[in-house]
Each structure stands twice: as structure tokens, then as C-alpha cells.
Symmetry: C2
Subunit: 165 residues, 2 copies
Amino acid sequence: MKTKNKTTIIAEPGKQEVTIIREFEAPRALVFKAFKDPELLVQWLGPKDMILEIEKYDCRTGGAYRLMNCSGSGQKFNFNGVMHDVTEPERMIRTFEFEGLPERGHVSLEAATFTELPGNRTKLTIHCVFLSLADRDGMVQSGMEGGVVVSHQRLDELFEKMLVK
Amino acid sequence: MKTKNKTTIIAEPGKQEVTIIREFEAPRALVFKAFKDPELLVQWLGPKDMILEIEKYDCRTGGAYRLMNCSGSGQKFNFNGVMHDVTEPERMIRTFEFEGLPERGHVSLEAATFTELPGNRTKLTIHCVFLSLADRDGMVQSGMEGGVVVSHQRLDELFEKMLVK
């Protein structure tokens, strides 16, 4: 599938935040559902050659999650967090921690906003803040951009499949 | 009670974070307990002339909380969040949202570190990051400093009372 939509990732020098902006050819309720429903989540989150395993995904205000991206060679990339605010279909605010770092405590806060656009389209804005500039820079340098872009392309494919008449 | 310890609050211009540093004349396990145990929490968190009501305080990794500071005249200041990581006795990472703002979504992330000092003393470092500089500045201008300083003085009194032979 070819999409005209591109993922924009803004990480200004010296600021401990990252902003991710993306439009989708799908109505807001469906885009939100793709983030909330674990059966959809496994179809798009992470690289295509990895399997997303869900230990827990309680996507409600006050819930918690723990997910693993698993490669064919047995590598696992685990991450977890808690859901501060899940307000369907407009807002999801949660924490995020990648478990592969040498020490715990490098947590970020992610606020996702789902905005309706004309023509049954949706704009997604994810605002991430980090406990330090070093944490932010580490996340950016870890290849975050590639993972986000691929996940959004997989979302495009998922929506196209689901929206076929 | 007179204490020699002062609360240091660092809010550098242009940075969307606040760091709070304070030492206490109490062992780390007790300082941590004062943050974790709701029966102790109500004795120190917030202004002296207000009553802290606890709707929910599930202080475990993955738990959630909702607290109200209530004045004698019936004013209520409610706040809530989720506990990303509660690792006794060293670390507590949680979200925080004051409910009195015109709109929801102005959430911050707070990482508290409890460090042992010689002589059964403890250093508390709380690192707060905000989704925007405006959120950070709003929190600082709301009188956060006064509330934090008074709460820490009340903690001094609580520890003095509990540590009396």
C-alpha cells in the first residue's frame, strides 16, 4: 500500500521532549480502537519481522500494560507502563519504560491526542516528555524514528484492510 | 520544632522540569513509609489548615490514587495519578494531575529517589517533568513551593514524634 501520509517527529536540541504527528485515512474511532484493542495492537505495533506479545494490556484509566517485541532469533524487547488517562476517542496519557536499559527508572510520559479531520480522517499527535535530556537523546538515538514510522505504515495497511467495502 | 534542613526547589528558566531536594532526620525506611502509608500521608501532605481526604491510594507499581485537600470552608483541591514504579525503599515514580484546571490532560511525571545518608538520615530528590513549559511555569506560579515547604516541615514534625524514644 502507498500512503501519502508521513510521520513527523520533532526533537528540538536541548528540549527533553519529542512530538510525533501523523495523519491517517481512517475515522477517529477506528484509530483510537487500534491503540486500545490488543487484538489490533499486535497487528501494527513494532517492526514487521517481530511478534508483539502481550503480557498485560489493561487500556483503561488506572490500568497497566507490559508488552514484548520478540524476534525470530529469541531476542525480546520488553516495555511497560501505566495508563493515567484513557478518554475514548480523544486522549490517551500513559507512562512508558523500556526494560532493556542497565538500570530502571528511565521513564517517559506520553500524551496522545486523536483529532477528527474532515473526510473521516484523523490526526494523531503524541507528545513525549523524558526525565532528562539524556533520556530523550538516548531514545531518539536508539532508532525510535524507524520503529515509529514502520508502525504507522502498518497502521495504514491495517486500516485499509478494515475499511475495504 | 526547629529543623536545620531546607527544601531546595530548582526550576531553571526554559526547562520543563522542577527538581525538589530535601534531607530528613529519619532513616530511609521511615521516610519511604511516610510516602507510602496513607495513615501517615494524611498527617503531612498539604497545608496544615486543610484536611487530606483519600478516595484511593493504592501505592504499588501499577496502582492508582486520588486525593483531596479540603479546606474548612468547603473548598476541595483534587488530584490523581498512577504509580508507574514503587520500589521500596528507594524509588517511587508516578503521574500527577491537578483536577482544578479548565481542561484535563495537564499531567506531570514525578520520580522520587530516597537515598540513605550517614547517621540514619535520608535525602529525598523529586524530579518532576511536565508536558510543556507552560505547564511547568503554571505549577510553579500556583504556589507549589509554599505547599512543598510546609509539607516537608510537617514531615519533620511527624518524624520527630515517631522517633521519640
